[in-house]
Symmetry: C2
Subunit: 339 residues, 2 copies
């Protein structure tokens, strides 16, 4: 077979604001690999199939002195993120990791960085395992179960309701017997949120969020993927004893930390705010999630959406689209069809 | 006996900033009462003994259109708050309510507004029942038990550590085996906080709070009675999984709502924030508190401090002192010695 292309997406510079393709990240097809002869040194050779393009990737594009909460990407090295690959050759164990670097082929010495063998339902496509059947779905499931204290008849408000996490949260809230308000940034996304059960879906770009919440609230559970002013609005129209589940602040990833103006209402109303990170919740919810959610995705009882691009060279564009909110649904890059 | 003075403290005007004695509140000694002949109409006549001067009173000095979280005081009517009185005459039941209006004598038709008969330990003075053995102590106890998730070896940070609530929180944190950092606004208060067990007590007016927290943290449990910039500092130096218990925002009571600049860190670290109001926690903790804390106050195992003034005419001054932080400890006005 000889040497073939082994393209990479390199981190090139820390962005001032949005990550610019070709500047922040560079697609580099210059390297080659002989996949039959590449030395493994006791490890294994992985071929990347699917990459998950997530909002948090922007958090890793920082200078070390900015004290990011995740390890910053190294300038000149490939990006890293959540993905799925297939093991081509191995001197250790046959594995399909869910974590990979943004290049077509790579040798790993062992299972590293949370890699694990994927237990896949044959009815589901691989891409759903970086979406509703993967980390975003698990984040929604574990965070909701642990912190929502959802009760039938209560009212939920979900931002980025057409995103990978929000899509699952809307459906969990409906299953819990709640009225669900959901926001997103396009009419297409509003229609999708309605199709998965949102009672009140609105485009935050063309509607006044406060007017919607005043009419449809008060909010018992607020699941937020956005941050910023919408948090002030949710605090203002929260019910006494309301729970705010903060799962992301994408509106601030490109503009520094986001504040709220009326934090003191949390003490006086009172409210309860929970930061949602999936890692500490894994021991409690991983097994339950795996037996509960993927079968419902396979049967169609729980719905999901994806916005698939093909080719590693699309990564930079898709990262920017996710940050700008122009991805139509959960963004996935298919690097290669299954080997 | 005939008619005697029945002075009142009236709410006179909504303050722009701090509540000015003689302007915001007016001491009015013009009314009289015949305590032997005042018609009861089936109710009872209460003589006020002790009034609690609390930070939250400022929250009731607002215009109805500002949508305060507590019912606003009526212009021209006496202030209301937490207090203790003795029943002089009754056509209903003998009661010592813990809730009274700010006047020397008043007739009530029945037990209203949370009034209850006080179960008092003979060793404790009456004043401690609006302090460590009353609502402030109960707030600290119930909030701490419900939300701190305190673990031995963890680090707590308490603001207003010499106040009625903070005093109890420091001691509960020490009992839980934690290292306790505590702040207040005078050297006298720093010495008091050290005397009740704080490991690191500091004057926030003469020390850099961030420098203290960077050196002594990270903070696992933050109990806050102050609000504002210290919350930003606590979020910055919070441990992963840290709990922020928001019990008051006195720094903002005279300046509108208080924000935080780095709210988005709550989602990414992650942190958990709980507003602390005692009312919803009463069913779970009231009985436990009553059997646990007052005996320890009587034995000296738990310590408390009070700053007592005598005479209803001192109320306006003391309300201002509490807002400005110049009260030396929990502020109490003794209106009359026990009848």
């Amino acid at each position: 077979m000889g040497r073939i292309q082994n393209a990479r997406v390199l981190f090139n510079s820390v962005p001032e604001s949005y990550p610019v393709p070709g500047e922040t990240t560079v697609y580099d097809p210059s390297q080659t690999i002989d996949i039959e002869a590449e030395p493994l040194n006791g490890g294994f050779l992985l071929k990347t199939l699917v990459l998950s393009i997530d909002p948090y990737l922007r958090n890793r594009m920082q200078k070390p002195e900015e004290k990011p909460n995740l390890p910053p990407f190294q300038i000149g090295a490939p990006l890293e993120g959540i993905g799925i690959g297939v093991v081509l050759r191995s001197e250790s164990a046959g594995v399909e990791p869910d974590f990979t670097v943004h290049q077509e082929y790579a040798v790993y010495p062992e299972l590293v960085g949370g890699m694990q063998i994927l237990q896949k339902l044959p009815e589901l496509p691989l891409t759903v395992y970086v979406n509703a059947a993967g980390i975003p779905g698990l984040t929604a499931y574990a965070g909701w179960k642990e912190y929502s204290e959802a009760k039938p008849g209560e009212i939920a408000f979900v931002t980025s309701g057409a995103g990978a996490v929000g899509t699952i949260v809307i459906q969990l809230a409906k299953q819990a017997g709640m009225k669900v308000i959901a926001s997103a940034g396009s009419e297409e996304k509003v229609k999708f949120m309605e199709s998965i059960g949102a009672d009140v879906a609105f485009n935050y770009k063309t509607n006044d969020t406060r007017a919607v919440l005043e009419k449809e609230g008060p909010i018992d559970v607020f699941w937020d993927n956005v941050g910023g002013d919408v948090v002030d609005a949710a605090i203002e129209f929260a019910a006494v004893g309301g729970r705010l589940l903060e799962c992301g602040s994408i509106s601030g990833y490109n503009a520094g930390h986001l504040g709220v103006k009326n934090f003191s209402i949390i003490g006086s109303k009172p409210l309860h705010v929970h930061g949602i990170l999936v890692l500490p919740l894994l021991p409690k919810y991983l097994a339950e999630f795996c037996t509960t959610i993927p079968p419902k995705l396979a049967s169609g009882e729980i719905k999901y959406a994806e916005d698939i691009s093909r080719g590693l060279d699309k990564v930079g564009d898709r990262i920017l689209a996710v940050q700008k909110g122009t991805s139509k649904a959960k963004a996935v890059v298919v690097v290669a069809e299954e080997a």
